[in-house]
Structures are given as structure tokens and as C-alpha cells.
Subunit: 235 residues, 2 copies
């Protein structure tokens, strides 16, 4: 079955409303009347009820139904009742911890490999990669493993930016990802800026949005990927 997924860097760009920049991209996958299972587990300081409501309101114009995993007695079984999976942002470690706890890793992977569309943003895009080893988040909770859904065979770095706070002595994002390529030179990383997304339809992979992405792999450092580029070679 042809796989389809939309991996958004962020839920917003600049000060636009929640997910509003993503609506034109979401329209390709989220059809009127379709039913989606929302995974709210990346939310930590927001209640799952509030998180679900926020997403449902943001996607109102698409005419889809959004039920949340936290309302399902058996989230794995709920996957059989929906047309797609939607994984929201927040803390990547908490998200992955809960995906393991609810036995959703293999279950989601199987569904997506068999054609169920997947939409993620921020942490929800991170876990679509091979592992969460290129997340920007704080490791507030320890998941059983850093291995993630591996819906694509590379690493994702959402919210990519090389901004450095003035007077602050920390690594830039490019330096952090360069260190990743030191310890794992064989796993490519794609950094995607806020507002951008990776869109997969079967064997075709494209960088969406109007900002460049950046590829890090082995000795390749911060190689620019033009907006709209075909990056199917990464599959």
C-alpha cells in the first residue's frame, strides 16, 4: 500500500493561529468526513481534553472528526476505527514514553505501512523518524528506548534554526547536529524550519513550505535543501 504522511516542523509559524499555516498542506490528506485518531501524549502542561479541543477547533474548516487516544479504553483497537493518525507536538520524550506504554509503536507503524495517513507536528514529526536522538526537547522522562516509529529511514530535527542567543555559551543547532553525525555518521538528519514540512506520498518525498531545509549526514554538514525539492533519495 502507498504510504502517505505529512511531517510538520511546528504547530505555528511566527504568531499565526494554531496550525493555521498548515491547513493548505493538511487539505491534501485530511478529507471532509474522515475520522482521525489524535495522539495527545506530547502534551505535559496542557490537559489532554484541552489539547484535543484546541486541535479540533484549529482543524474545524477541514470537516474531519478528531477523537483522542486518551478517551479510548484501548487506543490500539481504536486504530481500526479511524481513517488516519494525527500526532501533536509538545515533549518528545513524554510522547515516546506513552507510545511505548500503550503498545502503540508497532501498531501505528503497521497501520501507516499499510496505507493509513499520518500527520505529525513538532514532537509528532520527531517520532516519525528513526529515533528521537535529534529532538530539541528536555528529557523530562525516560522512555524504554530512543527508537521511534521509523516511518521514514532518517532523523528529523523540527524547529530548525541557527539562531544563537546573544552572550549565551551554548551550541548552535548546526553544532548539535554535527555532534550527532560524529556518533552516528550513517543516519541522515533533515532539519526543517518552522513553517516547513516533509510530505510523503508512496515513494515520493518533498520538502514543503517556503524555507530551505538542511541535510546533515556523516561529513555532509548543513547542506541546503531548496523549498519544494524532491528528496525521495532519502527513502
Amino acid at each position: 500500500m502507498s504510504q502517505s504522511m505529512l511531517l510538520l516542523s511546528s504547530s505555528r509559524v511566527g504568531d499565526t493561529p494554531y496550525l493555521s499555516h498548515a491547513l493548505p498542506m493538511l487539505e491534501k490528506l485530511v478529507k471532509p468526513g474522515s475520522r482521525w485518531l489524535f495522539i495527545p501524549y506530547a502534551g505535559v502542561s496542557i490537559s489532554y481534553d484541552d489539547y484535543q479541543q484546541r486541535v479540533a477547533e484549529a482543524l474545524g474548516s477541514l470537516g474531519c472528526q478528531v477523537c483522542s487516544a486518551h478517551e479510548c479504553p484501548d487506543p490500539v483497537a481504536a486504530l481500526d476505527e479511524v481513517d488516519g493518525i494525527m500526532v501533536g507536538g509538545g515533549n518528545t520524550f513524554h510522547l515516546l514514553h506513552e507510545l511505548y506504554r500503550h503498545n502503540l509503536i508497532d501498531a501505528i507503524r503497521d497501520k501507516v505501512k499499510n496505507g493509513m495517513p499520518y500527520v505529525g507536528w513538532s514532537a509528532g514529526s520527531n517520532v516519525a523518524g528513526k529515533s528521537i536522538r535529534t529532538t530539541n526537547d528536555m528529557p523530562i522522562i525516560e522512555p524504554p528506548s530512543f527508537d521511534a516509529l521509523a516511518l521514514v529511514p532518517f532523523q528529523i530535527n523540527p524547529h530548525y534554526s541557527d539562531y544563537q542567543a546573544p552572550g549565551h555559551n551554548g551550541e548552535t543547532r548546526a553544532q548539535r547536529l554535527q555532534e550527532f553525525t560524529c556518533v552516528d555518521p550513517l543516519s541522515p538528519v533533515v532539519g526543517i524550519c518552522e513553517g516547513s514540512a516533509i510530505f510523503r506520498q508512496g515513494d515520493a518525498l518533498v520538502l514543503k513550505g517556503d524555507k530551505s531545509g538542511y541535510l546533515f549526514e556523516g561529513t555532509t554538514q548543513k547542506e541546503e535543501i531548496q523549498p519544494g525539492s524532491d528528496i525521495s533519495f532519502l527513502l
Copy 2:
């Protein structure tokens, strides 16, 4: 035995030379002629040889000897030959991964509990806490556990800052630490700004430097700790 340790937020403050701001604080623990085992494992994109040389040069005026764990056939045995332990900054996950790999967790903890002085900065301060769950670093490699040396019974957040890059949609540091207190309300976190340090002598704990620190614990959020405060209540 009375425990002594200096946990520095960072290796530099602003654009001052490497470790130079720390020399007046280090003088309290690092005596002329004393021998120190340096742990370079947080270094990823710098060679351990270069890292050792950088530290030895920075500490030249103290008149101490610095040998590095990467030059020792048996780093655990090397602990018996030195007067103190010095753990440098870099990537916290890589540091903890290597501390486990070289069986140094229990070995260092035992030495420090029996009076051997410990100096850490950045990642080296992070691992002195209960766990690395409040590090700012990217999880580029998966350690066997997030549990760290637990030389103090709380969490440390080095490089504390609430600066937010303009136009960027990510959490502030205070928001990240607040999320930590949501998943673990019983573990206090002390955020220390660049230039500051936590200094322990036996049962006395003091915040050194001229910047405030911040305490997060349960519903306590970003409670200011004045420079020079006695924070022994955290022990």
C-alpha cells in the same frame, strides 16, 4: 568524610577565556601540586587530547596536575592515584553513556562520598545531579539509564536562561522545567546561570557568583535564589 564539590554552570561567561571566570572559585578546591583525573567524555567534536590540553592550559595558574581518563588503561583504578575528579562540559548524554561504559558511576560516587573533591562544569555539573532529566543537550546517544552520579539529591539545570529567540515557537527554559515538575513533582531542580556555581563543603551548600539561581519543585516555579544564598536545605 566531608564531601566537597564545585558545580559550575558553564566553562565561560560572555566572551571571557575558557574557565577563567572559575579560577577564583576553583582555588578553594584545587591546590598547587594536587593531581586531578579529568573526564573528557562529554567532548564529541573535539578530540580528547585537545580537550585535556585546553583544560590543563586554562588551569595552569593553579599549579595542579591534570591527567585524562582517556589516557588511562583503567580509569576506575586511576581514581586511586589522584586527589580529585574534574568533569568537563559538552554533551551530557555522551558523557553519561561513557561513564556507564567505563564503570565509573559507582566508582566516582564512592570516592566523592569518601571525601574526594569533585569539580564539574555544564554537562559535568548535570551528571552530579540525581539524573540528566534536566539537561539542555541533544540526546545524540542513548545511555543505559538517565540516572546520574547523584552527588547532590536534586536536579541541576546549567546555562539557565529565559531568553526566547524572537519569532521562534519553542518553550522557554522555565516552561521546560515546569513540565519536568509536572512529571516528577518530588525532585527539586536548581537552574544556575552562566557564571554561577553550586559549592558544597560537607553539609553546607551555597550559590556562588553574582547572578540569581532559580528553584523549581512541584508547584514552586522559578523561585529566585539570591547570589551567595545558603541552600543547604536542599541536601
